[in-house]
């Protein structure tokens, strides 16, 4: 393989990781309360600016920053749930959906108000830009860090959902709200946890986004958020593994589209993503890992 192809592959895996991190949150939240949270992508923006702020202080060592960003994302996700969505728990689905759009627009405009509309250069330690020799190719450190951390976080989340008491409560709620309540499960706590965990992963995706592409702005969460939602749909809404796989499929496909078509086509990359989604849904309407709803008896 030429080094060009390998570089495209690496770019695809990195972009796919970012989509996967955000997509997992979409799926988790949808799984627990059947809400498509369009404000979810904007938590990326929050994570990116929290990183920038922490770096800007000059006091916080770099090893602590990712942990603080995870925490900030958890708190932001939880706060949004508490303030915007809890009172809508029994409202019709469409109401919740509209409110997520409203929260998204509000977060973006709050970002513009506080941070200004201009893109900012992202401060990131040079070590991540260094290139390492892998034998067959040279790769930037950050392109190794992003997929590795993504997979670790995805596995950790998977274990949490499969093995822990909280995860069991989430799966029970996801399947049958009434019965879960009869078990003594507090829906509020599990929903808060889902928003918090999703927020933490999206925030770390924001940190990575800044590190990879070098610039951040208050609207940066919008398009990646929509694409991560596409990844969720491709994987099958509600399936965490599906969201991860969908993220990588989308990232690789998008980079391949840009890398292997004439340069004049690259402006259509966003359009291509949605066409891809439509094609996959034509073949598998429930997504790759989705189960038929009828199966829930």
């Amino acid at each position: 393989m030429s080094s060009y192809v390998i570089q495209q592959l690496v770019n695809g895996l990195t972009l796919g990781s970012l989509y996967a991190l955000v997509a997992v949150g979409f799926s988790l939240i949808y799984g627990v309360i059947r809400l498509v949270n369009f404000a979810h992508g904007d938590l990326m923006m929050i994570g990116a600016f929290v990183t920038l702020g922490l770096v800007g202080t000059g006091y916080v060592p770099w090893v602590l920053i990712p942990l603080l960003v995870l925490l900030a994302g958890f708190l932001a996700g939880g706060t949004i749930e508490r303030l915007a969505f809890r009172s809508l728990r029994n409202a019709p689905m469409i109401t919740g959906f509209i409110v997520t759009l409203a929260v998204s627009v509000a977060l973006q405009n709050l970002g513009i108000l506080v941070l200004g509309g201009q893109p900012r250069n992202f401060l990131f330690p040079d070590i991540f830009r260094a290139r390492v020799e892998l034998g067959f190719a040279q790769v930037a450190v950050i392109d190794l860090v992003i997929p590795a951390v993504t997979l670790l976080l995805a596995i950790a989340l998977g274990l949490l959902v499969k093995q822990s008491r909280l995860g069991l409560a989430m799966r029970a709620l996801s399947e049958n709200l009434l019965a879960a309540q009869l078990m003594g499960i507090s829906a509020n706590r599990a929903v808060l946890a889902a928003f918090g965990l999703g927020g933490a992963l999206a925030a770390i995706a924001g940190l990575f986004w800044g590190g990879k592409y070098g610039q951040i702005d208050p609207l940066m969460g919008l398009v990646p958020g929509l694409k991560a939602f596409v990844a969720t749909i491709i994987g099958g809404v509600g399936s965490l593994a599906g969201a991860v796989v969908g993220g990588y499929i989308l990232g690789l496909a998008e980079v391949a589209f840009v890398g292997f078509t004439p340069p004049s086509w690259s402006g259509y990359r966003d359009g291509f993503v949605f066409v891809l989604m439509i094609l996959i849904l034509l073949v598998r309407p429930q997504g790759l890992f989705g189960r038929d709803e009828e199966e829930r008896a």
Partner: protein
């Protein structure tokens, strides 16, 4: 143990319960019978704190004094030992049998105790034990009912509300389920409130029974009395009784 005092419940614009008063005494089996749509399920949902009460009072005798059901979140009622085994079983079909049972003891943080409870449910229903890692949705109707009861037992109920445990089951399975329930009451002292369409069967085991129609209690007495009362027999038990 449980008491409703002139409780009314409204859903939308319809009043689905009208001044319902009933009592479920500790250690007894009480039965609630009546036609479809009479308000039996609504009564149970109200008792377990899932529906708002528009008038009257609902009280649970907790381990530490009386609890006002209308002012207590549903999970706190579960913690106080009020367990509801809902209509249509409502097991978690996608989860394993073992996970279903563990969910029954969700509020119990003592792992050893949960393990012991689980084993006692398995010894009560060996068929569940054989398939503990299988998905609950793969069980037959009767097995799912056993799982639903087993799951309720995991919570160590002080009072157990059962909604139509015989629905859709073969008579022989129904009989087995009823035997289990009566044994629970006699041997472990679990207070039962049984909602049944199979009124004959429910009245035969009930110490106390209520007949509902159109959101009201229309008859009450001991199970035996109601079985012998002509108006109940003709209206609810058919002519065969």
């Amino acid at each position: 143990m449980l008491r409703l005092e002139r409780v009314s419940v409204t859903r939308g614009r319809t009043r689905v319960l009208q001044e319902v008063s009933l009592e479920v005494p500790e250690g007894e089996i009480s039965a609630l019978v009546g036609a479809n749509g009479a308000g039996k399920t609504t009564t149970l949902m109200t008792l377990s704190g899932l529906l708002p009460i528009s008038a009257g009072r609902a009280l649970l005798q907790g381990p530490a004094g009386e609890i006002d059901i209308a002012r207590t979140p549903a999970d706190r009622l579960v913690a106080a030992g009020l367990i509801h085994c809902p209509e249509g079983r409502q097991i978690f079909a996608k989860l394993t049998i073992e996970e279903n049972l563990r969910l029954g003891a969700y509020l119990n943080r003592d792992r050893g105790a949960v393990q012991r409870l689980q084993e006692s449910v398995y010894s009560l229903f060996p068929v569940l034990s054989d398939r503990r890692r299988g998905r609950a949705g793969s069980l037959s109707g009767g097995e799912q009912m056993m799982l639903a009861i087993g799951r309720a037992l995991m919570a160590e109920p002080r009072v157990l509300l059962l909604d139509e445990p015989s629905l859709g089951l073969a008579p022989i399975v129904t009989e087995q389920i009823f035997d289990t329930l009566v044994a629970l009451n006699r041997e472990r002292g679990v207070t039962l409130l049984l909602v049944e369409q199979n009124a004959m069967m429910a009245l035969e085991v009930a110490d106390r029974a209520y007949v509902m129609a159109e959101g009201r209690i229309v008859e009450s007495g001991s199970g035996q009395e109601l079985l012998e009362r002509q108006s109940v027999v003709t209206a609810y038990l058919g002519t065969g009784a």
